[in-house]
Amino acid sequence: MAASRDDFVIAIRSAFLKKSTQQKFSLLTLVIASIFIILLSSLNFKIITYLKVGINEVVYRSSFLVSIPENFINNTFSEVKDYSTFYSNYKKDKKELNLLRSKDISNEITQFENKELKELINDYVSTSDKLLAKIIVDHQSTFLRSIIINKGTKDNLKIGTNIYDQSYLIGRVIEVNYKTSRVLLLSDLNSNVPVTIVPQNIQAIISGSGKKHGKIKYIKDGVYDSLTEKSIVYTSGTGAIFKSGVPIGKLVIDENESTLKFNVEFYSDFSQLKYVFAEVLQKTETKNLSKSTIEGNDSFNNTLEAKLKILEDKTKIFEETNLKFKEENENLESRNNDLNTEIINLKDQISSLKQTINQFNLDQDELEFLKLNLKYGHKCRKSFLNNKGFLVETPEYKNCVLNKGIKIND
């Protein structure tokens, strides 16, 4: 037992410490050095950072050179593939171009409006300058999705600089060297982007999946039903990490038997990137800007005064017209009152006339009855000789008289 333990210790000691003729350092020394480097790289010492930047510069360039043959083969293959589908793509592109041209004009207007609104909301104006950068290293690693571009601190790139393919967001800078930078792609697992999904106008956070697409990481409960296929996903600008309103991709609903997944199909194909745009933002305080312009520019004051005068004139005109309208209104109101009283008087007149007419009609009837009564009263009146007659002043008697002596009962 003791002998086997001794063998084990000897084997380990030999593996760790023994240097053969070709080895300059023992394994133990190098393992300790590795652990030391890991610890140092996790701490942000300035010297280590500079050293890292130096190593990065050299290694990225070397990696670019070494990758040339492989990239050449890959590019040749993709170019051959492109040629084979050239004509069909040309037709498709032509159609799309016409459509996009028409959309471009309205887009420009919207952008201008958007800029103005942002100036109102924020207290700074951001002027952007897009730099064209070449991808020097793109190895599509198994675990991390990142690329190296040939722009660095020399070109004002900073950690967090947004990187675009055309106008589509593809990632942000996570490491800056003097002439190179590492860009973390949106497809990386460690990438999180606050987004807005339209037309539903839902806020969410998307992260990479380590594959070609992204996935929705956080979304408010209960809004899943409203999400539809092909909804557009763009940056919301929450957290000020990414610029707002930059398109990212389309929503794809992956519906299995048991699960419902919401993926984001990126507009840009990250495996086909050759050149990208880095957006260098320069923020200027609007308050300071306005102060300095007012102080230094008299013409600006003049135009302001002229504008104020025009506005004052306009107000005067409005006040005058307002007074006129008021007077007219008062006149109309008094006239309206007069007319109302006239209507009431006329109504009274009508009612009195109606009464007179009714009275006249009654008198007319009475006269007719009296006339007939003289003529036919004896035929209707009950008497000794006329048993079938009626008593005077009864309705039957009146009817009999009006019927000229004819008794209805007969």
Binding site: D7, I10, A11, I12, S14, A15, F16, K18, S20, T21, Q22, Q23, K24, F25, S26, L27, L30, V31, A33, S34, I35, F36, I37, I38, L40, S41, S42, K52, I55, N56, V59, Y60, S62, S63, V66, S67, E70, N74, V137, H139, Q140, S141, T142, F143, L144, S146, I174, E175, R182, L189, N190, S207, G210, S271
Partner: protein
């Protein structure tokens, strides 16, 4: 197989080929990922380091392996020193295995390689997730380990042909 024993410059280049390949593979991330095959990935440096340390190849310096690890970290974007530690641990485990083996057997080597890469990938994954808060997919590591294990035999056959042409 061509024998370069008597040829000066070519012989030197030939003898340094494993180291050259190691550096090319770390600089170029030669892992066949550009094929874009689903669930396919391979760690070529692991195979290379394991085999040539096992064979105690004379030009395969641990210091160069250490440098290769640093380059790999820089290219991939991992914290500096992680890959160096992984590569050196492979060297250590292989060296230990060589010391305790009396009669070498390719199948034993192959399964020991599976144990080594599983252990190294586990350490790698643990360090990155626990100390550096990286989000990593465990399945990708497992698939990578599996394919590296499978391709070991294929590359070992080629390396054996190579060794026949060297002075070793």
């Amino acid at each position: 197989m061509i024998n370069f024993k008597s040829q000066g410059l070519f012989s030197k280049i030939y003898n340094w080929l494993p180291v050259i390949f190691l550096f090319i593979s770390v600089l170029n991330e030669y892992d066949l990922n550009y094929l874009n095959l689903k669930y396919f990935s391979l760690n070529f440096p692991f195979i290379l380091i394991f085999f040539f340390t096992l064979k105690e190849f004379k030009n395969f310096d641990y210091f160069l392996v250490f440098i290769a690890g640093l380059i790999n970290d820089t290219v991939v974007g991992l914290p500096l020193g992680i890959s160096s530690l992984s590569y050196l641990l492979i060297c250590f485990l292989t060296s230990y295995f060589r010391n305790i083996t009396i009669r070498p057997n390719p199948i034993k080597d192959w399964f020991y390689f599976l144990f080594v890469i599983s252990l190294i990938n586990s350490i790698n994954y643990s360090i990155l997730t626990l100390f550096f808060s990286y989000n990593l997919i465990l399945m990708v590591y497992l698939v990578n380990t599996f394919f590296t294990f499978l391709f070991y035999i294929f590359f070992v056959t080629i390396f054996k042909y190579y060794l026949r042409g060297t002075n070793d």
